[in-house]
Amino acid sequence: MVGVPVLDSMLALVQEATTHERAYVPFLPSWMILLPFIGFVINGAVGYLAPDRRKLVSAVGPGVLGLSFLVAAVNLVLLIAAHDAEPVIRSYWTWMEVGQLRIEAALQLDQLSVMMALVVTCVSFIIHIYSIGYMGEDPGYARYFSFLNLFVFFMLVLVLAANFPLMFVGWEGVGLCSYLLIGFWFTEPAKADAGQKAFIVNRIGDFGFLAAMFALFAYLGTLDFQAVFAIAPRGFEYGGAAVTLITLFLFLGCTGKSAQIPLYVWLPDAMHGPTPVSALIHAATMVTAGVYLVARTGVLFALAPLSMTVVAVVGAVTALFAATIAVQQFDIKRVIAYSTISQLGYMFLAVGVGAYTAGIFHLATHAFFKALLFLASGAVIHAMHHALEHAGEEAGEDVTQDMRNMGGLKAYLPTSFRTAWIGALALAGVFPLAGFFSKDEIIWSAGARGQTLLWVLAVLTALLTAGYITRWLVMVFHGASRVGEGARRYLRAAPSVMLVALVLLAVGSVVSGWVNVPEALPLLPEFTWLHQFLHPSFEAAEHVLVEHMGEPAHVAPLGGGEGTWAVLSTTAAILVVIFTFMALRGKRYLSAREAAEPTGLWRLLYRKWYVDELYDLVIVKPFKALCMVSWRVIDQGLIDGALVDGVAYTTRFGGWVVSRFQTGYVGTYVLIIVIGILIILGAVAL
C-alpha cells in the first residue's frame, strides 16, 4: 500500500515538475488502477466475511479513491509541466499473442487519458464520500463499496488502456458494475430488471465495438491506439466504405454505453440504482465513455465524414429529444436522467463536428454539475425516505422520488437547496458557471462547422434545458410543501459527509469551466488552456479534418462572433430561468396519488414519446415469440419430434409389425419357415 513516504515523494515530484520543465515520466500509473482494485478486494472480502465492519469499509472505500486521485493529479501536473509530451505506453504483460496479433496489457498515459482519469477519480472520490452517508444504514454496505471500487477500477482501465481490446475490458467491466449496482437492491424485481436491461442493451453496443475491432485488425493488422492512429491516415481512403463502417460500428458501441438514440432506453431505468450510483456511473463517468471513445479514435472518425455527420446528428437529435421528455417527468431522478442523455447528446454533437476539446470539456464540467444535481436529489430522497418512514407512511421509491410529493423543501434542506441551484444554473449554461463555458463552446463549434440545422437544434435544446431544470428546482424546493403533515416533522438535513460532498461538487461546478475560457471572452490571462493542453491528443485528427474540410468559420450561421453569441445565450438562459421560475412558482401541484395523467402533447412527453412501448411491440415481443417458436416448434416439434423421434417411432412401429408374427404357436413358426424355404428355393430354382 501507498504509505507516507510515497506522499512525500509525490510532493517532491510536483515541486520539481513545477519549477523545471522536463520530459513526462508517469508517476506510479499502475497504482492509479490498482488502488481501486485493492479496495474492491478488501471490501469484497469484508462483505463476505464480516459485513459489520463498517468503519473499515468507510476508510478503505473512499481512501483508495483519494490516493488514486492524488496519483492522477500528480500525473496531470507532470504532464502540464512537460509541454506537448508524447504519449507514454507502459506495458505490463502480454495478454494475447498469436502470429501478427499481439495485445499487451498496457496503459497509455497522455493528456487525454490522464485528464479523464483525473475527472473520474475526482468525481468518484467525492461520490464515495457521499456514499458513506447515503448508504450508511444499508446492510450491503461493504458489497456496495466493493462494487463501486470495482467500477472505478474498470473505468480507469477503460480510460487508460493503450489498445482497443483492453479498453473493451474496461468498457464491459463498467457495464458489469453498472449491472450489479443498478440491481444492487436485487430483491425488488424492477431493479433487477433494470440492471438486466442495461446490460443487454449495452451488449448490442458492444457488438458494434467488437465488430469495429475485428475490421480494424483485418485492415490495419494492429489494435494498439498509437499504431492504428499512425497508420490509419495512410491505410484508409478518406471517406472510404471501410473506415466509415468501422467508425459506425464504434459509434454503435457509443450509443449503447452513452445512451444515445436508439439505445438510450436503458438509462432512465438505470435510475433504480442507489442515487450515488446514478451520479457516478449514469451521469459523470461511465456514460461518457462513448464520448471519450469517439474523441480517442478521432483520427478514424475524421477520416469518415459520413460517420462524423451521423455522430453529430444523432447527438443533436438525442439532445433535443431527451430534453423534451425531461420537461414532463415527475420523478426527481428521471428528469436528471433525461437531462444526462440530452447533455451526452451535446457531447456527441461536439465530437461529431470535430470539436473534440469541446466534447471532453463538456464531459468534465458535466461530470461535476450533473453529479451535483444527482447527489442533491439523493439528499432529497434520503430526507423524504427518512421522514416518511418515521411517519409510518409508505416510503417506496415511487413515493419518495415523485416531485409532486415534494415542494418547499428549501426550508428543510438548505445546503442541498443552494448547491442544487448552483448545479442547475451550471446546467442551464448561466455565466459564470461551468456549463456556460462548455456548452457554449459546443454550440459555437456546431455553428462554426457549418452545421446550421444542428446548431439550431442545439440552441433549442439549451433553452429547453434551462426550462426543465428550473421546473425541477421549483417543484422540489419552492412553493408550498406537499409533504404530508405527519412526515414533515421528520424532514432532516442529510448527514454532514453528504453535505461535504455536495459543497465540493458545487465548487467544481463553478470552477471547472474556467479551465477553457474562450478566446472571444478574454476574462483570464490564459484562455483556451484546456484546448492547448489536449492539443497533442487531437492534433492528428484535427490535421485530417483541416486537410479535408478546411478551417472552421469565425462567424455563426446567423452572423455574429463567438463573444456575441456567448453573451446572447447566457442572457437567453437567464431569461428562460426567470420566466419559468415565475410561471411555475405559484402553480399548485396535486400530490402524485391524486394527480391525473397529463393530456394532449404533455401526455406524449410524459409517456416518453411511447418509445418503450414501441420497442416492446416491435422488438422485444416478436423476439420473445421467435425464441418460443424456435424452441417449441422447430426444436421440439420439427427436429426432435418429427425427425429424431419420428425415426425412432417408425423403427418401433416396424418392430411391432414384425412382432405380430411371434404368436408363440409352433404352427405359425413352421408355416413361416416353410414359406421362407419356398421363397428361397423358388429364387434358386428360377
Binding site: V674, I675, I677, L678, L681, G682, V684, A685, L686
Partner: protein, 170 residues
C-alpha cells in the same frame, strides 16, 4: 428293367404310400407304425444304393430305438385313443397339400441339374475293396474323428438334458 429297379420301385412305392398314410392317420400309434414301415423301406433303398452299413443302422437305430421311444411316449401319455382328431380342418388339408406340392415342384426344379447318367460309381468299388463297415468307418474315425467325438458329447448332453427336462418336479 432289371431286378434291382423293380425292387427299388417296390420299396419307393411302399415308402411313399406309408408316409402319406402316416401323415393322414388319426391315431398316433398308427402313424408311428406307418413311419416304421417307411423307415424300413428306406433301409431297403439304402441297400440298393450300396449303403449296407447304413441300412443296418437304419433298422437298428431308427426303427429299433427311436421309433420305439416314440411309441413308448405315445403310450406313456396314453394318446393312442385319439379322443379328438389332431388333424386340422379342410382348409389346412388343401393348404398343406398345396404347399407340399409347391415344395416338391421347386425341389424337382432345383434338382433338374443332376446328371442323367453319372459317369462313375465311386462307392461300389470301395465297398468291394474295403467291405461295407470299413469303408464308412475309416473316414469316420480318421478325417472326422473330432466331429465324431463332439457328436458323442452331444448325445451325452441330450441324454442328461432329456432326463432333467422329463424329470417330475419335486
Amino acid at each position: 428293367m432289371d431286378l434291382s429297379q423293380i425292387v427299388f420301385y417296390l420299396f419307393a412305392g411302399v415308402a411313399v404310400a406309408s408316409s402319406v398314410l402316416m401323415v393322414t392317420r388319426k391315431n398316433p400309434v398308427y402313424a408311428a407304425l406307418y413311419l416304421v414301415l417307411t423307415l424300413f423301406s428306406i433301409a431297403g433303398l439304402f441297400v440298393l444304393l450300396d449303403a449296407h452299413f447304413l441300412a443296418a443302422l437304419q433298422v437298428v437305430v431308427y426303427a429299433g430305438a427311436i421309433l420305439v421311444l416314440f411309441l413308448f411316449v405315445i403310450m406313456l401319455l396314453n394318446l393312442g385313443h385319439a379322443f379328438e382328431p389332431d388333424i386340422r380342418g379342410r382348409f389346412w388339408w388343401v393348404f398343406a397339400a398345396g404347399l407340399g406340392l409347391v415344395l416338391l415342384a421347386e425341389l424337382v426344379a432345383v434338382m433338374r441339374g443332376a446328371p442323367e447318367r453319372p459317369e462313375a460309381d465311386i462307392v461300389g468299388p470301395l465297398l468291394e475293396a474295403r467291405g461295407a463297415v470299413a469303408a464308412v468307418a475309416e473316414p469316420l474315425f480318421q478325417s472326422y474323428v473330432v466331429a465324431l467325438e463332439i457328436t458323442g458329447i452331444l448325445l451325452l448332453v441330450a441324454m442328461v438334458g432329456a432326463v432333467v427336462i422329463a424329470k417330475r418336479k419335486a
